[in-house]
Homo-oligomer: 398 residues x 2
């Protein structure tokens, strides 16, 4: 009776729910403190105290008609201006409020820009491993997502050559997720230049516009002083999607933006269409109170040092056990090789030690698993004996 597309999805959905239920049952059976759940990318650092205070101040001082009323579908002009100025200060860009559209999180923003750009059959590229939800977003508009593997032997850095070979006349966009979920890798400046050169060349060759959609929810989570290049400065057909879900620990509030620079081909047309897409997809506008909140918190930061402590504890702990891990430079994920290459088996065996993490098949990259370290440092320490036992079972580091 329901949409045929959705029938398939409810089957997959149930499989994921079954996994959650299993975690809950394990916590009941063994005690929550004896179950080590590394499966979810839900920030464990609370929002900065300023967030609480600003919500109270905004509610107290703002006329409710202005605070909760409709505004332009693009968002409050003063909020968009504040966001533009903050980006210009930090990254040397030259955005005005016209370039910024406030969105219902990055997920909302990605759907808005894909609705804006895609005709049925258009191709969108992404480097694998990748957040599988991109496939659903592209399919919402009858586009075709094509994965371009970033290989283990390249440290999961994308390859300009592989990108070049994947581009066709139907390629409309490349989704770039930097810092990367699930690998924790950051693409450095020279890599971005390499990719930009390929795209420029292909645009000339094909006479098309190919947009980078830069999905940047992890931008602020970079370690060891790593720089995350601001893509618009390297490639003019770049559209940035951002969310405060991770940087201010506000994932439930659904607040983000799209930045569409003047330099992009058909920039004003894209901006106008994206504002309409924001409306007709049913978002209408980003939540009004949250818009005002983030405008007051643009200089606030989450506790990156806490994630960094987790990163080191987990990376060092697992490496000591003999597991092969990609050294993470950003985000809050550790990407670990399944010792015998079978990630499904690795997930199953780990569960027997009360450890929960996600298999690489969920990121279009079998053979690896994602361990999310947005958890308490204490849980990481408590989990180490279980990881050691798991390693012994695989015959590692005996």
């Amino acid at each position: 009776m329901i949409s045929r597309k959705m029938i398939g999805m409810t089957k997959n959905g149930s499989a994921i729910r079954a996994m959650f239920e299993e975690g809950k049952k394990m916590a009941e059976k063994f005690g929550a403190e004896n179950v080590y759940d590394f499966s979810l990318g839900n920030p464990n650092i609370p929002a900065p105290e300023k967030v609480r205070q600003e919500i109270i101040d905004i509610a107290r001082e703002t006329d409710p008609m202005e605070l909760h009323g409709y505004m332009s579908n693009a968002g409050y002009p003063q909020v968009r201006k504040a966001v533009a100025q903050s980006l210009n200060r930090r990254f040397g860009t030259s955005f005005s409020e016209n370039n910024i559209i406030m969105t219902v999180g990055a997920a909302g923003g990605l759907n808005v820009i894909l609705k804006t750009l895609l005709d049925p059959g258009d191709e969108v590229l992404v480097f694998s491993p990748y957040f599988l939800e991109y496939g659903n977003y592209v399919a919402n508009f009858d586009g075709i997502l094509k994965a371009v593997p970033a290989l283990p032997e390249d440290g999961f850095q994308p390859s300009g050559k592989a990108l070049s070979e994947a581009i066709t006349p139907k390629t409309k966009a490349l989704i770039l997720n930097n810092p990367n979920n699930p690998t924790g890798v950051i693409y450095p400046e020279d890599k971005i230049r390499e990719l930009a050169d390929v795209l420029e060349e292909k645009q000339r060759e094909l006479g098309t516009s190919i947009y980078i959609i830069s999905d940047e929810p992890y931008r602020e989570l970079a370690y060891d002083g790593a720089q995350v290049p601001y893509i618009t400065k390297y490639y003019r057909n770049t559209i940035v999607g951002y969310s405060w879900s991770k940087s201010l620990s506000l994932p439930g509030e659904r607040i983000g933006y799209l930045a569409i620079p003047d330099e992009a081909d058909d920039s004003q047309l894209i901006i106008d269409a994206a504002v309409i897409a924001n409306r007709i997809l049913g978002f209408v506008n980003a939540p009004s109170l949250q818009q005002r909140l983030v405008a007051e918190c643009l200089e606030e930061k989450t506790d990156v040092d806490a994630y960094d402590r987790n990163r080191k504890a987990l990376y060092n702990g697992l490496t000591d056990c003999g597991f092969e891990c990609v050294y993470p430079s950003g985000a809050f994920y550790l990407w670990v090789k399944a010792p015998d290459g079978d990630d499904g088996k690795f997930v199953t065996k780990a569960k027997e030690h009360n450890i929960l993490f996600v298999g690489g098949a969920s990121f279009a990259c079998p053979g690896y698993v994602r361990i999310a370290y947005c958890v308490s440092n204490d849980m990481i320490n408590r989990s180490m004996p279980a990881f050691k036992a798991l390693a012994v079972e695989y015959g590692l580091n005996k």
Copy 2:
């Protein structure tokens, strides 16, 4: 370069923006107090004071991880339970939290349920005049919106016979908007029974399920003691879409719900699929702070009396001028006949008197105009000489 669908929309979008700009220019030229803008359905009654206080209390007392974190894509269980219980108390329904999905406003909810139900080419019926955005929502999923005229000679009440004739084997849903935007009409209990009988008969005849999607943002805005039937009690294949935009004056916050009763065909499948649709359309979940807020304000009401005063002032004033108006029982719109049947000309002539309202062509019903009375009572009074002059121009009530 952008999507072909969106190119057409940016052209229309610009036409609407041009109208807004004109209103702004008029205010600059003649003074804001001499321009009578009845074009927008933006509540002019501030949110109840309890809204302000609850936001402050919630921010002060709730753990930020719980307040701003991810929850189930369906929303917080305790919020959904509170909504279900409030509906059960008021309408004698028997919802549990399982039947309620919190959404990004009613617009989000409508897109979620249409994504859930529609295959390409499926037909969705709506009585005209109607909110044109429905057409965009249905087109998002390649459905076909078919208007069934509700006629002036029936007081813009829908006709069971016309509904019956419009139903085909491809009919998946009927969108019902009660109280109605733009006519202000309320469909009473006997009309709902008539429509339900037609749908039941057609379901039997065709062997299909036809869902009523009841879009109810104006439910609480009913005057003269009018009752707004709760549709699930008359027709079991009913899905309710609600928003607090009007009832708590929170349109910018994007908070609403879908109610999917157990009695509906494939109820659990629809619920499961709608939760997934909420995620993959990019909403992910309804804004978390707003979910908690509305759960605390379920018994709060906007100042319906203020809208009622506006309703009477405008209806009586315009009728006295000689304009033919539909007596509004609900919502905050007055539906007025263009004196010579040309609504475009009526809009243009009104502008010459600094009066702004929306032509019926924007609601798929030429020959009428919509005058929104969610404005200050003072503006209505000040506008009366201008309406009188407009009436004189049309040779009315000389």
